[in-house]
């Protein structure tokens, strides 16, 4: 297994950035105001771009600088801007009816992180010598951001929150893949970035249709199709 071997300073730098991203995911989980989610998401994308640039520097992979730049542009600036526009058009400010209180959601998220840690340990055991703790950290953060993303999809009913939950899912994968496999083909990474953009554009259009025809963007009201 070619595991990336980082010098200790770099390892702790990446570790700090990864944990900060996880913390921002929890901020997204625990807040009610849609604008807060979006800022936290933008900041998280900037941190991930920093990780990409750092890995590009340490592993001597210059394409990662391009990936970092595109991440900042698309995920860090353009996506929040698009979502802000959707927010303004939909006149949605915050979650009005909570399915689960933010406090309980935070505790559930913490349980998810513990589960992710257990899985990461299992994988590290199976791989033999993991090389450096940043590998386990990357695996844990990746899996726990997945779990937090799914938690957000389940307990939030506003359309925008569900979109942001999907974005957290993809952010988690991106974060993990940057640290674990710095050599992933450039084509895949670029297309994932663009694909995210197209997805958000589609979501925007759909959310507009939802508002026009169903009268609401809250999924609690979407109950016509049953059985």
């Amino acid at each position: 297994m070619t595991l990336p071997h980082f010098p200790p300073l770099a390892a702790s730098f990446f570790g700090l950035l990864a944990i900060a991203s996880l913390l921002l995911a929890f901020v997204m989980l625990g807040s009610r105001w849609l604008r807060d989610y979006m800022y936290a998401f933008g900041l998280q994308s900037w941190l991930i771009a920093l990780i990409s640039a750092g890995i590009g520097h340490y592993e001597q992979v210059p394409e990662l600088y391009l990936v970092a730049l595109l991440t900042v542009l698309f995920r860090g600036l353009l996506l929040p801007y698009l979502i802000l526009r959707i927010l303004r058009r939909l006149h949605a400010d915050r979650e009005l009816h909570e399915i689960l209180q933010p406090a309980s959601a935070l505790v559930l998220g913490a349980a998810g992180v513990v589960l992710a840690l257990a899985v990461a340990y299992r994988i590290a055991d199976a791989l033999g010598d993991p090389g450096s703790p940043v590998i386990i950290l990357a695996l844990t953060v990746m899996l726990s951001m997945k779990l937090i993303g799914f938690l957000m999809l389940s307990i939030r009913h506003e359309a925008i929150s569900q979109i942001l939950g999907l974005m957290i899912l993809e952010n988690g994968i991106f974060l993990g893949s940057q640290i674990l496999i710095p050599g992933m083909p450039l084509l895949i990474e670029l297309v994932i970035l663009f694909d995210l953009l197209v997805a958000v554009a589609s979501f925007g259009v759909l959310a507009r249709y939802l508002m026009e025809h169903a009268g609401t963007t809250s999924s609690l009201q979407l109950r016509k199709l049953v059985g």
Binding site: A110, V113, L137, T140
Partner: protein
């Protein structure tokens, strides 16, 4: 067990006893100052205590022995804790092996528990409300506190606060590690909760929705002085643990000389003033929340403590 050590131990307890009203005065004065009022003088709590000790003792009709017992127990508990934690010196003194971090937390809680009992014992409506509310918050705060203490223990591989202090002073990479940062944040939130400064109520007597002050409404005279002093000491102790063990572990006397001890006392006051300013800022900057949102800061603190434990495992 030399004479110097015994004197240092007594000096630590005396420092906590004598300096805690000063901290209380500092917080009150600058809280008012931030809100553009003049604020009471810094030594007003001393004057209050003097006045209360000279006042008549009035006891409610339904009070039992707990009414007399609780202030004494709380005061004594607050006197025991300074023996266990680093207040002025950074080396363990005799008798500091009586308890570790968990023991210190237990004794602090014991004092609070007796005051809660006293609130129920008085039979008044406000006392009951105060006790029930404070217990409701304690149900969430105590497990979080234990998790934070577990995190501190795992960080230093030891349960003695002195070892933690040495580790953080000596190894800068541990000081800046994510585990430590999360523990500091989690403990700060708990600090706000335990000293009754959560943004869900106002910490004066005037409002109906006070939490901890309501428990002691039926007290008067010297008993009230003891209770007030005990709560001021609890605040001082929590701030001291926060500073000397976690956040600012520098500035403690290393050799135990008189000059060093005095310098440490001044340094402690300086550090506590800094934390007090931070607390005042946090409390006044935030608008009051609905009562049931008390879960949110506590859930955030629990989360941070859990993340600290996890980050420590991966360190």
């Amino acid at each position: 067990m030399s004479l110097r050590d015994i004197l240092l131990q007594i000096a630590q307890v005396a420092a906590v006893l004598l300096l805690s009203p000063l901290l209380q005065g500092f917080i009150h004065r600058y809280e008012e100052r931030v809100q553009r009022a003049r604020g009471p003088s810094l030594i007003q709590p001393y004057r209050d205590l003097w006045k209360l000790f000279h006042k008549e003792l009035v006891i409610p009709e339904g009070a039992s022995a707990i009414h007399f017992l609780a202030p004494v127990v709380a005061f004594t508990a607050m006197l025991i804790v300074p023996i266990l934690i680093p207040v002025l010196t950074n080396f363990p003194l005799p008798l500091s092996n009586m308890g570790d971090i968990l023991g210190g937390g237990l004794i602090l809680t014991l004092g609070g528990f007796f005051i809660t009992l006293a609130g129920l014992d008085s039979g008044s409506a406000y006392g009951g409300i105060g006790s029930s509310r404070s217990v409701m918050i304690t149900i969430l705060a105590e497990p979080t506190l234990i998790l934070v203490l577990v995190g501190i223990t795992l960080l230093a591989n030891s349960m003695l606060p002195f070892v933690v202090n040495h580790l953080l002073v000596g190894d800068l990479s541990v000081y800046w590690s994510p585990a430590h940062v999360f523990l500091v944040c989690a403990f700060f939130i708990l600090l706000l909760v335990e000293t009754d400064r959560m943004p869900i109520h106002s910490s004066t007597h005037i409002e109906v929705y006070m939490i901890e002050e309501a428990r002691i409404l039926e007290y008067s005279g010297p008993l009230l002085a003891l209770v007030r002093w005990a709560s001021a000491m609890k605040q001082f102790l929590l701030y001291t643990i926060f500073c000397n063990v976690l956040l600012l572990p520098w500035g403690l006397s290393i050799q135990g000389t008189v000059l060093g001890t005095l310098g440490a006392a001044v340094a402690v006051l300086g550090k506590l003033a800094l934390i007090a300013c931070l607390v005042i800022l946090v409390e006044t900057a935030q608008s009051r929340l609905r009562f049931y949102r008390y879960q949110e800061p506590l859930a955030a603190s629990f989360l941070l403590a859990a993340l600290a434990v996890i980050a420590n495992q991966i360190r």
